[in-house]
Symmetry: C2
Subunit: 347 residues, 2 copies
DNA sequence: TTGAAAGCGCTAACAA
DNA sequence: TTGTTAGCGCTTTCAA
């Protein structure tokens, strides 16, 4: 069934070849093959004949030629930091839900938090005349992002902005509101001694979590305890910090975690030191990441609207492309504060 | 700093434009800009002048034109089923480790186990003249894969084959050996009553797990108990089955799980019914997927060499491209049987 | 309805 | 060393 065909044996089938074969003009086949037969009032007989011929010959339209001519590729590039979690998968689904009916298609790549790689990928996308680039911003990549703008290519940031690049459109989860939801949940449980585990890489949406934490405490008239608030680098092992925080006699009775992964680690550490979740300590995370739903974990968390973010970004991209604008400075904070209550706060 | 440039304001800078600006011939600039200045013995002065000019004008080479001319794109397409786990991330790293030094670059997409989507993505890649396609095979997509072969485009399957398409080259984790490692580990712990949780979607590498389970039992002279062997559809909720299996008086003292996610769920279910892991039941999974390392889980498992798989696939792709072959039927089973011992088997 | 032909930006063969 | 030029395959204008 499979046949190890030698590429060199095959001649690429082109519109002109089909035209010659059919004994008609190149433009006629061109119109037919690009779906403009109706518009050009080409006889149905001719159309059918050409279509059949194209299929027989195994014709594959050459997008390179087409796009060279149109000077656009029909491709929207997605540039993620990595593909480790479900975020890329879900936002891609959102992107597809919008692009599905259009003439645009997405292609993905990652920058792995590496400025050199980001630059390389962007260069590639620009050289291939991608019509727009959607990226999770990376702080060290400002120069590269600026290059996209200078090039006149639409750029959209996902889930955060970059200082000094406020004109770039952004679609993000409203982490502030979501954090408030999480905090309110803990407070509604009667917990007043709430600790915070999070990280701070300088991005606003990340910082929004700490700020919401602070504001909620303030609103409730609860004093902030600096020793109950920890910021880590991303991907840190936080168990030690948790043990430290909870070894004191006077310890928190709840934990708000800026990221599910911290909540997951915290639950492990707390139970490891004999504390009961949620009886002794209620824990809530952010993002409903895979793992938080495992029966042994059961982390309460707030859902993030990843698919909607992708969808919004895609429709924004199309808008920018059609307006021939690289950016307009619009901001879109998507609400996503569905509380997912699991074991870690089910008192 | 950012400047909402209007695309229409910008004229695309081309080699001929630079040539005119510099007052020299198109070919000269062409040679310089494609790095062939040395070879063509172009004076360094001219070269520097052109390079500087290109930079000043914000020249971005038009890959569309270049590739139309060469009739190849320099792109290798990666077509995953989804991006939920770390698999895509890690294998992409492997692909990059090989492509980094070459003229090829990867672009990603997913087929989401959807034959229609797979077909669409493949069509796109063929139209864009991708030089090779690397895909995690999807059973319902045979016709589409065949189309890649018929087109003469190199195709490589990741982690499995497809029945009737044995000529397609494959790079996969040697799941049989890895399964043996896992089983031997349980046996070395003195466990004889070993249950199996896995799935069967008809793919060989998946089936290899059950087969290894059977063979290991046989080798040890242990009778297979059908009620201790369960196959589920992927992404199933298996807790109920686990409870059922372990409610009997005569129950397994160990579980071999064909997928970490089953192991994770099993640990939750077992502990939920009051059984101790690993004292009552030792559990081992496959793949070292994220989540298995969580402190509350601690699932022992076998590492899968995802990065090596990506790397091997990439170098194979380059080979096929250069040999102008769409496939050669080679098979590459990569050993990855590093046992990762965690709580679930630490007696 | 159909045909002829220009040209998108780049490469590379050929000439000078 | 440098200049000229013919395409790559497709779209689209202009003529017939």
């Amino acid at each position: 069934m499979v046949f190890a065909a030698s590429i060199s044996m095959k001649k690429q089938v082109s519109t002109s070849m089909i035209a010659k074969e059919a004994g008609i003009a190149v433009s006629t086949t061109g119109f037919i093959l690009s779906g403009k037969a109706r518009k050009m009032k080409i006889s149905e007989k001719t159309e059918q004949r050409v279509l059949a011929l194209a299929k027989d010959l195994g014709y594959v339209p050459n997008a390179l030629a087409k796009n060279l001519r149109r000077n656009r590729s029909g491709i929207i590039g997605l540039l993620y930091n990595h593909l480790k979690h479900h975020w890329a998968d879900e936002s891609l689904k959102g992107v597809r839900s919008v692009l599905g009916d259009t003439e645009y298609s997405p292609f993905l790549s990652t920058h792995e938090f590496d400025a050199k790689l980001l630059e390389k990928e962007v260069e590639l996308m620009l050289q291939h005349r991608f019509d727009a680039i959607i990226s999770v911003p990376f702080k060290e990549g400002k120069k590269t992002y600026q290059r996209i703008i200078d090039n006149g290519t639409p750029l959209i940031f996902l889930n955060d902005t970059l200082e000094g690049m406020s004109d770039v459109d952004m679609v993000a989860w409203n982490a502030r509101e979501a954090s408030k939801t999480a905090m309110n949940h803990l407070i509604s449980l009667g917990r007043k001694k709430i600790g915070f585990l999070g990280w701070d890489d300088g991005r606003r949406m990340i910082r929004a979590r700490v700020e919401a934490y602070r504001n909620c405490l303030k609103r409730e008239g609860i004093d902030l305890r600096k020793d109950w608030m920890r910021l880590f680098p991303l991907e840190a092992d936080i168990a030690e910090s948790v043990v430290e925080m909870f070894s004191e006699k006077d310890r928190p009775d709840a934990l708000f975690c800026g990221l599910d992964i911290y909540g997951i680690q915290a639950i492990g550490a707390l139970e490891g030191m004999g504390l009961k979740v949620p009886e002794d300590v209620a824990v809530v995370g952010m993002g409903n990441q895979p793992g938080s739903e495992f029966p042994s974990i059961g982390l309460s968390t707030v859902n993030s609207p990843n698919e909607s973010i992708g969808a919004k970004a895609a429709s924004l991209a199309i808008e920018l492309i059609e307006q021939k604008q690289s950016c307009t400075g619009s901001r879109h904070l998507l609400h996503g504060d569905d509380l997912v209550i699991r074991r870690s706060t089910s008192i």
